[in-house]
């Protein structure tokens, strides 16, 4: 939201600096005074939580890289060395490993919030697209990071995922094999592969940080969406970010940190797979290869499609389709609060994602395979059929005229409930009239 700068440099130095590099002005305007809709709920706190996650991952990661050795003969041992010998190594590694899961959990909730409240709609399309770019970078980064301990799951995850590129062999014979050998730096997953994965695992988080900066920039041009999906119309409908939302975000972050710490201290390996504590063996594939929980829905889609090439296309398509969501949704109404027809479809979509996650961990046969196919069908149908069609046939419910009106009617309802009677001057249960 464009707003007038309230920054007044006081000292001579502040003035001198402001004329040369107005960085203090930028921080004050964008992160202290920034006008934020007054009705944001706790689903809006995940942006701040995600920034915390990124910083935590980068800090613990830099420390881990001081002790880790990216060599196929030493990598596994160096992880055990971190766990047993390095001072606080166990804490830093568990925080990093659990941190990846917490990062994805927060990112998925952040995305479902965006879908529910229509935060991807004009004028926030670029903001949404940058978010999908961040998701792709997160997926690449976490996949590479998971390979580094060089345990059985690491090794076979790298083997299976890099082999996805060999599906190009069915488009141009030999192309896929060339790409895979280029990625491996050999004829099988080996030391060159581990080395380059480590190099890129160190690089990508900084690219994420760069795209996050663009994401926040794109957020600060139109300003936050809000639970009503109605634009801020008066300055009284917004509050300065600090202290109102810095406190709210801070409280949510504290609660999030409790869950985070509970995993780190009481169940650090709960989200991982025990097979990764077996050193990589290129001659034995584990009976049951499963990715980390946050990839399970995509893995289920890959396995649900009975063709190698189209399985891969389906898996990547599940993310690619997110890029065009702003143009697939045909309704002018942002928030699902006022979209009675789409709401059940949305919750069915959320359930589908959870079910796909469950099926991704199950063997691909019998009822599991059938369910995965049905769920994959609905996943794509939600975006490609439901979003375009429902927006055209749906009649939205009565929306409040403004954020203020919405807050006032909530307030009236609350008072009526407290007094157990009808508030003076307000119609009883207006929605039942």
């Amino acid at each position: 939201m464009a707003h007038k700068s309230n920054y007044v440099p006081h000292s001579a130095f502040e003035k001198w600096l402001d004329e040369r590099l107005p960085v203090v002005r930028l921080m004050k305007d964008q992160f202290i005074d920034f006008p934020t809709p007054r009705n944001l709920n706790y689903w809006w706190t995940f942006g701040g939580i995600l920034i915390f996650c990124l910083i935590a991952q980068i800090m613990t990661g830099v420390v881990l890289a001081m002790h880790y050795v990216a060599n196929e003969a030493l990598a596994f041992q160096s992880i055990e060395h971190i766990m047993r010998n390095v001072n606080w190594g166990w804490l830093i590694r568990y925080t990093h490993a659990v941190g990846a899961s917490m990062f994805f959990a927060a990112a998925y909730l952040h995305m479902f919030r965006g879908l529910y409240y229509g935060s991807y709609k004009a004028p926030r399309e670029i903001l949404w697209i940058l978010g999908v770019v961040i998701l792709l970078l997160m997926i690449a980064t976490s996949f590479m990071g998971y390979s580094l301990p060089w345990g059985q799951m690491s090794f076979w995850a790298v083997t299976v995922i890099t082999n996805l590129f060999s599906s190009f062999d069915s488009v141009i014979p030999g192309l896929g094999t060339r790409i895979v050998q280029w990625v491996w730096g050999g004829f099988s997953v080996g030391n060159p592969t581990l080395n380059r994965l480590f190099s890129l695992h160190y690089l990508l988080p900084f690219m994420i940080a760069g795209v996050v900066a663009l994401h926040i920039w794109a957020l600060h041009v139109p300003g936050n969406n809000n639970p009503t999906g109605i634009d801020v119309k008066r300055s009284s409908e917004a509050l300065p970010f600090h202290p109102y939302y810095s406190i709210k975000d801070g409280f949510a972050l504290a609660v999030f940190a409790i869950v985070f710490a509970a995993f780190v201290f009481y169940a650090p390996n709960y989200l991982g797979h025990s097979d990764n504590y077996i050193p990589a063996d290129p001659l034995v594939t584990p009976t049951h290869i499963v990715p980390e929980w946050y990839f399970l829905p995509f893995y289920a889609i890959l396995r649900a499609i009975p063709s190698k090439l189209f399985g891969v296309v389906g898996m990547f398509g599940a993310i690619a389709v997110l890029f065009v969501v702003p143009w697939l949704d045909s309704s002018p109404v942002r928030s699902l609060r006022y979209r009675p027809l789409l709401k059940p479809f949305f919750w069915a979509f959320v359930a589908t994602c959870v079910v796909l996650g469950y099926l991704g961990a199950m063997p691909p046969e019998g009822i599991y395979l059938l369910s995965a196919r049905l769920a994959t069908f609905y996943y794509f149908a939600f975006f490609l059929v439901v979003l375009p069609v429902v927006g055209r046939v749906e009649t939205p419910t009565q929306m409040p005229g403004s954020i203020t009106e919405d807050i006032m009617s909530n307030e009236q309802r609350r008072r009526a409930a407290l007094e157990g009677g009808t508030p003076s001057g307000a119609p009883a249960a207006p929605e039942k009239r």
Binding site: W156, T159, V160, N163, W182, V183, T285, S307, K308
Partner: protein, 196 residues
């Protein structure tokens, strides 16, 4: 600098500038190409990976029905001494029953059909030599050890995504698109084989 009063000069100048812009851009692209290529090509298998030539194996300790796994170029090679029934099962399979109808044998031409004699060597029908990597996503199929599941066709079974291979290492059921590959190999004697 162009004379602002002379329109003729200005037009000429624009044409020249277009040419210079395009020429400079083209030269920058030509210069960039040779710089980008080493950055990409450095990721390809290096000289030490390419140098991992060949291995020789003594087959005499492998009894009928047994199989061994050896490493060649970082890949597992399955060598199975097939029993009579297994050979017969592979030979009697109709080509029309195969999802992949090519032999995928590096010792033969690319369009050789996937009949059993193109998978195992002539005169050495009992020896099947294949690269033991599932052609779906690169897992190692089971079926080498005695207690392993050999799948529905008595060959190998890949536990990752459920591909079944027959006793000639050909894909029969599941998501894998191709038969397991036969590496280049030669028999040095009746009990000695060289791979690579």
């Amino acid at each position: 600098m162009a004379n602002p009063n002379s329109t003729v000069d200005a037009v000429d100048d624009t044409d020249r500038r277009d040419f210079i812009t395009v020429a400079a851009g083209a030269f920058a692209a030509i210069g960039l190409g040779p710089l980008v290529w080493p950055m990409l090509d450095q990721m390809n298998p290096d000289a030490s990976a390419l140098a991992l030539g060949s291995v020789e194996i003594d087959l005499s300790p492998i009894a009928v029905g047994q199989a061994i796994t050896i490493m060649w170029r970082g890949k597992p090679i399955f060598i199975r001494n097939r029993a009579e029934g297994e050979i017969q099962a592979a030979e009697t399979t109709q080509i029309s029953a195969l999802p992949d109808r090519f032999a995928r044998n590096e010792n033969l031409s690319e369009d050789a059909p996937a009949v059993d004699r193109n998978r195992a060597g002539e005169g050495h029908e009992n020896w099947l030599v294949v690269i033991g990597i599932c052609t779906h996503l690169g897992c190692i199929p089971r079926g080498q050890r005695v207690g392993d599941s050999k799948g529905e066709f008595g060959g190998w079974f890949c536990p990752c995504h459920g591909s079944h291979y027959d006793t000639a290492g050909r894909i029969r059921k599941g998501p894998a698109p191709r038969n397991m590959e036969v590496p280049p190999y030669t028999f040095l004697s009746d009990t000695r084989i060289k791979i690579g």
